[in-house]
C-alpha cells in the first residue's frame, strides 16, 4: 500500500521550472531520502507534499485521497502529516507552549496534552527545557524542539527538511538516532531531504536523487553501485566513468570500446554507454596475471595520494585515468612509484553500465 503517490507533478515559479514531471510512490512505513544539490527543488517538493503550496500541474495522492480538492480535506490531510523546516522557527512563549501547539489546535484535552508533550520532550532529551523561553534555545535545541513539536501529533507522514544541517555533532547524533528509532518502529513514514549522501545512505530505505527532475529512485546500494545516468554517477561521486561504444557479444557479456581500451561487462548494453568501475573492485599487479578476470589493462601511475591506511593511485590507461585504492601495506610491498607500469584487473561483474 502506498501512503503517498505523486503523479506528473510540475511546479513553476514564474517561468522558472522548479520541479519537472515528478512521479513517485512512497510505501507506508519506509524512510525515503530525497537527495540532491542545493537548489534542486527538495524543499519545494516537501512543501508541495505538506500542501503548503499548490503544484502548477499534477496530482498528490495521500492515502488514496486526491489532495487537490476542498480546503477542509486539505486540512484533514495536513493534520496527518508533520514537517520540520530546515530553519526551525519558534512561537513566542515556552518550549512547552511550542510543543503543545499542534495538540491544542486539534482540541485535545489538557491532561493528554501535558502527558504527550512531556513524553516527546523526554524522547528528545529536552524534558528539563519545558518551561524555558523557546527563543533562548540554541540552534540544535531548537531543531530538537521542532522535531518534538511535530512528533507529538503522531503524524503518519513525517517530512524532514535537512534535519541535521548546521547542527552541533551531539544534536545531530540525537536526531539521527531518533530517525533510526522511528524507522525501526515502522509506524511513521518519513521523507527526509539531505545533501549529505552518507547520511541519506544510513537513514534511508530508499533514495531519490533529485535535481529538478528525478534522476534515480532505488535502494541506497543500487544508487551507489549502479547509477543510472551521468548526473547520479557524478553526484554520488562514482569514480572511473568511461564513455564508449557497447556491443552485446553474448547473452551475458557486453564489450565496450573506447580508443585502445576494451572492457567487458556482465550487464547488457548497446550503442553509446557509460561504464563505471568502483575503485575498490580493481586489483593491481606488476605483471599480467593469469586469472579469470576478463578485464586486464596496462597503465602508468601518474599520481599517488596518501590518505592514511588507504593509498589512492591514479593510473593512466590510454587516454583514460583510473582511480584505484590499495592498502598501505601492499603499496609498500609492491614498492610503487610514479611512472611505474601496472596491470589493472577487474571482473566483468564489476563493470556497471548506464546511459
Amino acid at each position: 500500500m502506498y501512503l503517498l503517490e505523486i503523479k506528473d507533478l510540475n511546479k513553476k515559479y514564474g517561468n522558472k521550472k522548479i520541479l519537472e514531471n515528478i512521479n513517485l510512490k512512497v510505501k507506508t512505513g519506509i524512510n525515503l531520502g530525497l537527495i540532491g544539490p542545493t537548489g534542486c527543488g527538495k524543499t519545494t517538493l516537501l512543501r508541495l507534499i505538506d500542501l503548503l503550496e499548490n503544484p502548477t500541474s499534477g496530482k498528490i495522492i495521500f492515502d488514496g485521497i486526491n489532495t487537490s480538492y476542498s480546503k477542509k480535506d486539505k486540512l484533514q490531510i495536513r493534520r496527518r502529516m508533520g514537517m520540520v523546516f530546515q530553519k526551525p522557527l519558534t512561537f513566542k512563549g515556552t518550549v512547552f507552549h511550542n510543543v503543545a501547539y499542534g495538540l491544542k489546535i486539534r482540541g485535545e484535552n489538557k491532561d493528554q496534552v501535558q502527558e504527550k508533550v512531556y513524553r516527546n520532550l523526554e524522547l528528545l532529551g529536552m524534558d528539563e527545557y519545558a518551561e524555558r523561553n523557546a527563543a533562548s534555545l540554541s540552534g540544535g535545541e531548537t531543531q530538537r524542539m521542532a522535531l518534538a513539536r511535530v512528533l507529538v501529533t503522531e503524524p503518519d507522514l513525517l517530512l524532514l527538511d535537512e534535519p541535521t544541517s548546521n547542527l552541533d555533532p551531539l544534536s545531530r547524533e540525537k536526531i539521527e538516532e531518533l530517525i533510526l528509532q522511528l524507522k525501526k518502529e515502522n509506524k511513521t513514514t518519513i521523507i527526509m531531504t539531505t545533501h549529505d549522501l552518507i547520511q541519506g545512505q544510513q537513514l534511508s530505505d530508499e533514495i531519490v536523487i533529485l535535481n529538478h527532475k528525478i534522476f534515480q529512485i532505488g535502494k541506497p546500494e543500487e544508487i551507489f553501485r549502479k547509477p543510472q545516468n551521468q548526473f547520479v554517477a557524478d553526484f554520488v561521486g562514482v569514480k572511473n566513468v568511461i564513455q564508449g561504444q557497447a556491443i552485446l557479444t553474448s547473452e551475458k557479456l557486453t564489450m565496450i570500446k573506447k580508443g585502445n581500451i576494451t572492457l567487458y561487462s556482465s550487464e547488457k548494453g548497446n550503442g553509446k554507454v557509460f561504464a563505471s568501475i568502483r575503485p575498490e573492485d580493481i586489483s593491481l599487479s606488476l605483471e599480467k596475471l593469469d586469472n579469470s578476470s576478463l578485464n586486464k589493462l596496462k597503465g602508468n601511475v601518474i599520481q599517488i595520494e596518501d590518505v592514511g591506511a588507504i593509498i589512492h593511485l591514479k593510473v593512466k590507461v590510454d587516454s583514460e585515468i583510473f582511480t584505484v585504492y590499495m592498502t598501505r601495506k601492499s603499496f609498500l610491498d609492491m614498492n610503487i612509484s610514479i611512472g611505474e607500469t601496472l596491470w589493472l584487473e577487474f571482473k566483468a561483474t564489476g563493470v556497471h553500465l548506464f546511459q
Partner: protein, 228 residues
C-alpha cells in the same frame, strides 16, 4: 511658575477631596476614550488583518492613504462627522450631535486609521514562515490568523495604546461634536481649554496633571494585560 505649583497643589486637593465635578468629568473622559478605543479596535484590527492577509490591486495605495490619515487634524474629522450627524446630515435623525455617543462615534473614526495601519504593520512584521509553521502543524485558517495575531500581540497592543492616547488627548472633536456641555459632554481637555481662556490657569494645570495620571494608569493596566 507659581501657577504650576498652585496647579499641583490644586490637583492634589481635587484628587484627595474627590471633588464631585472633577470625578464626573474624569469618568466621562475615560468612558468616551475607552469606548472609542474599544470600537476602533474591534473594527480596526480585523480590518487591518484582512488588508494584510489579502493580496489585491491598490493595496499599497490603500496603506499609504491609511498612514496619511494618522495625522488628519482632529477638527477636520470633527467637521466631517458634524456634517454627518447635524440636523441636515444623513444621520441627523439619530440626534447624536452634542452627545457622548456622538463623541464616541467621532473619536472611533478619528483613531481607526491608527488601529488599521498599525495592525497591518504589526502583522507584516511577523515572519512569513510562522504562517507555514502554524498551517503545517494543522492549524485551520482561523487558527493560523489567531496565531499570527498572538505573535504580533506586543505590536498590536502598541496600536491600541497609541489609539487610546490620541482619543483621550484630543480636543477638536470633543468641542465640535460634544459642545463642552457641563454635566453632559464636558471632558478634561475641553475643560482645560475653557478654564484657560477664563484665566483659571492653576485649575487647568491641575486637570492636565489628572489627565496625565489617567493616561499613566490606563497604560499600566494595558501593560499588565500585555504581559499575560
Amino acid at each position: 511658575m507659581s501657577e504650576i505649583i498652585e496647579g499641583i497643589y490644586q490637583a492634589i486637593n481635587l484628587i484627595l477631596t474627590l471633588n464631585p465635578e472633577m470625578l464626573e468629568i474624569t469618568l466621562r473622559t475615560i468612558y468616551i476614550s475607552l469606548s472609542s478605543t474599544l470600537f476602533a479596535t474591534i473594527i480596526g484590527v480585523p480590518l487591518g488583518g484582512l488588508i494584510n492577509f489579502k493580496t489585491f490591486k491598490g493595496k499599497r495605495g490603500l496603506v499609504n492613504i491609511i498612514q496619511t490619515l494618522y495625522s488628519v487634524p482632529t477638527v477636520l474629522v470633527g467637521l466631517f462627522v458634524f456634517l454627518l450627524i447635524s440636523r441636515a446630515g444623513i444621520l441627523g435623525e439619530l440626534n447624536l450631535l452634542f452627545t457622548p455617543t456622538g463623541m464616541i462615534l467621532c473619536q472611533t473614526i478619528l483613531i481607526m486609521p491608527i488601529l488599521v495601519g498599525f495592525t497591518i504593520n504589526a502583522l507584516s512584521g511577523v515572519e512569513k514562515n510562522i504562517e507555514d509553521l502554524a498551517m503545517s502543524l494543522g492549524a485551520n485558517q482561523f487558527q493560523t490568523i489567531y496565531t499570527i495575531m498572538k505573535e504580533a500581540k506586543y505590536a498590536l497592543m502598541g496600536a491600541v495604546i497609541l489609539g487610546f492616547g490620541r482619543a483621550i488627548s484630543e480636543v477638536g472633536v470633543a468641542l465640535l461634536i460634544g459642545g463642552n456641555i457641563r454635566g453632559f459632554t464636558r471632558v478634561i481637555t475641553t475643560t482645560i481649554s475653557l478654564e484657560t481662556s477664563r484665566g483659571n490657569i492653576a485649575l487647568s494645570v491641575a486637570l492636565g496633571i489628572i489627565l496625565m495620571l489617567i493616561a499613566l494608569v490606563i497604560n499600566l493596566i494595558l501593560n499588565i494585560i500585555q504581559e499575560k
